[in-house]
């Protein structure tokens, strides 16, 4: 990855809160990351860590009445701050420049409209094509996502398709306007293992063909290893580690990341392929977050400092390169040890 490459999406200090019956919770807390053109960025973490809220914050798909995106949050896309953009501006971006697909292909499509109609709708909003042009394009997209008997499918309804085919339709809809970014929120979680692999392959291929950046959200590190360039690990609403996939897999810095990696089922144990990674202990409730590190209760390396002070997300560039944004960890005692202390001194968080 060339350092000169500019990010197409810059998320800075994204903080998303919800008003609930029990008070306000912060589901996503000061999350910052970049998405570079054409890359695949993975966001991983256990269920409930804020992956979906992060992606829906970017697309502004959260319920307006109960969601508060902190006004200091910045989600910069082509000079627009999506965190504070109005609906009109968001509509122009949604489906056209940034598209999204979801976890449940069985319910994501509208059951009472044909596949063709639902593809046509997206094209109608974002292109000047006339109706026959749109139909041609819709067919082209179904062929692109390798839909068997594409022509016939245009006039079929979602219930006539299998889960895998519906997810292909979702991908076709998402990519029909050639977006810059495709956010895929657990796109294969609900699918069978073999179909999962096919869908991932398809996304890989299309990313290259259309030069679309993909933000792939998953709790499955196996999926990350297969397709991602970089990965962000989230825990209880925070980023706790980020870096190139190779680095994360070979030298995880955060004890949580390592625990996640250890919970990946070994190949050959296919039966466990869909199980959620299990790590001992439970994620703290967003209502009772500890003062120090959020992972402290489950961490085998816990020290007094972990209980007293929450660690900052700091650079741990392999070469110790200052300001390299690509390798970060939020831990007082990163597993590789060496690179952390100078960074901490440099930023001077220590009391």
């Amino acid at each position: 990855m060339t350092p000169a490459r500019r990010p197409i999406l810059e998320v800075r200090g994204l903080t998303t809160r919800f008003r609930t019956d029990r008070g306000i919770v912060t589901a996503v807390d000061d999350v910052s990351f970049d998405v570079f053109a054409g890359e695949t960025l993975g966001i991983v973490g256990e269920s409930g860590c804020g992956k979906t809220v992060t992606s829906k914050s970017i697309m502004r798909l959260l319920p307006a009445r109960t969601t508060i995106i902190d006004p200091k949050s910045r989600i910069m896309f082509e000079g627009t701050n999506l965190a504070s953009a109005d609906e009109r501006a968001m509509r122009k971006i949604r489906g056209d420049r940034i598209a999204m697909i979801f976890q449940e292909p069985m319910t994501s499509l509208n059951p009472v409209f044909t596949i063709g109609w639902q593809l046509d709708e997206a094209l109608k909003y974002h292109t000047d094509l006339d109706s026959s042009g749109r139909r041609k394009r819709a067919l082209e997209m179904l062929r692109l996502v390798e839909m068997p008997e594409a022509e016939r499918r245009l006039d079929e309804y979602p219930h006539q398709l299998s889960g895998g085919m519906r997810q292909r339709v979702m991908i076709a809809i998402a990519l029909c306007c050639e977006p810059d970014i495709l956010i895929a929120d657990e796109p294969t979680t609900a699918l069978d293992v073999t179909i999962q692999a096919q869908i991932l392959d398809l996304m890989e291929g299309l990313k290259r063909k259309l030069d679309t950046a993909i933000v792939l959200i998953t709790h499955n590190l196996g999926v990350v290893a297969q397709v991602c360039d970089r990965v962000i690990v989230m825990y209880a609403g925070r980023i706790i580690e980020s870096g190139p996939v190779h680095d994360i897999f070979h030298s995880p810095e955060h004890p949580y990341t390592r625990a996640l990696l250890r919970s990946i089922p070994k190949s050959g144990h296919k039966a466990h392929g869909r199980r959620l990674p299990t790590i001992e202990g439970i994620v703290p409730s967003l209502f009772e977050l500890p003062k120090g590190c959020r992972f402290q209760d489950r961490c085998e390396y816990r020290q007094q400092r972990c209980i007293d002070v929450e660690p900052e997300l700091l650079d741990v560039g392999v070469g110790g390169r200052v300001g390299d944004p690509l390798r970060q960890v939020r831990c007082h005692f990163p597993l590789s040890g060496a690179s952390s202390s100078p960074t901490i001194e440099r930023t001077g968080v220590e009391p």
């Binding site: 697309m59 609906e87 971006i93 949604r94 979801f102 009472v112």
Partner: protein, 320 residues
């Protein structure tokens, strides 16, 4: 679609035969003739009445005869009380009933769907809460209050104080194409009252349906595609919400024909509801038997119609 309708019709034939069987049997448990002319009538009188209706024949034969008459729409038997053919009683009472119930149903449904869509569109807002409060309030007031107030302010008061008699509450005159103003005079006020009476319940029901639809995943997908909020509500959500809406409307459809008994009674309108009640009170056997057969047919036809409408709206129904 046609094979589907044919299949539905076929399934319902035994159902209808069963209903007629039960109705006819029930009506004969107590001797209808004695019930009508009383214990003191002479045996000859009773026998004459019995023969005229074929009541002295074996039940199986009566059943077959009656079915044949229903199928051929032959309602030539005379009412014991009114001495007119049952068919003509049916024909003359169906128009007044429909003149109230059809406009009332159409208006209620359209208004209720519009209000509930608007309320669901701004759900949680003050407007939504005010609308729903109004709906609950409207539902909680007794029907009699609406009738009394409606008759007073709609008919009595304007006539007494302004000398305008637009609406009348009695003296129904038939509505024909050349006298459509009779509809305004005799039917419009009952229609308005019926709409006011039912709108609260319907609005709440439709709003609940629409709000629930609005939380579905496909709504998020539509917004993620770039759809505007009106597009989402009035295209994506509405078409899905039509499924429960149709059920709700269809359940009330038979009452279109059976008529609004209450309104017909309070406004002295000779509709089907009132005619049947009168017939029951006077033990007018031929009318009761014919009306129940017709009502049963109407229920079955509306059921089939409901299924057909489902199939039109919901593609998932079509294949199964």
């Amino acid at each position: 679609m046609w094979p589907y309708i044919a299949r539905k019709l076929l399934y319902n034939i035994p159902v209808y035969l069963g209903i007629i069987l039960i109705v006819m049997a029930c009506l004969r448990v107590n001797d209808p003739v004695t019930a009508y002319i009383g214990k003191n009538a002479s045996e000859e009188q009773k026998q004459a009445l019995r023969t005229s209706m074929g009541l002295d024949e074996p039940f199986a034969l009566q059943y077959g005869r009656f079915l044949l008459k229903v199928v051929t729409l032959d309602f030539s038997e005379r009412s014991w009380e009114l001495k007119r053919p049952v068919g003509s009683i049916l024909a003359s009472s169906v128009v007044p009933s429909l003149s109230i119930t059809i406009p009332a149903l159409i208006l209620t449904t359209l208004i209720a769907i519009t209000i509930s869509l608007c309320a669901a569109y701004v759900r949680g807002s003050l407007t939504d809460r005010v609308l729903m409060f109004g709906a609950v309030l409207g539902m909680s007031i007794s029907l009699l209050v609406y009738v009394v107030l409606g008759q007073y302010f709609g008919a009595y008061w304007p006539k007494q104080n302004l000398g305008i008699g637009v609406f009348a509450i009695e003296g129904y005159r038939p509505i024909t194409l050349s006298s459509l103003n009779n509809w305004v005079t005799y039917c419009m006020l009952p229609v308005i009252i019926t709409v006011v009476l039912t709108i609260g319940y319907d609005t709440r029901f439709y709003r609940a349906v629409i709000v629930e639809e609005a939380t579905r995943d496909y709504v998020t997908t539509a917004i993620a595609k770039g759809a505007t909020k009106p597009k989402v509500m009035f295209v994506h959500v509405l078409k899905n919400a039509m499924i429960p809406v149709i059920t709700h409307v269809m359940i009330t459809l038979p009452f279109l024909v059976t008529g609004s008994i209450v309104m017909e009674t309070y406004f002295n309108i000779p509709g089907m509801g009132r005619t049947l009640i009168t017939a029951i009170n006077s033990k007018d056997f031929p009318v009761i038997q014919a009306f129940t057969a017709v009502f049963a047919a109407i229920f079955i036809v509306t059921n089939i119609l409901t299924d057909v409408l489902y199939a039109l709206v919901d593609p998932r129904v079509r294949l199964s």
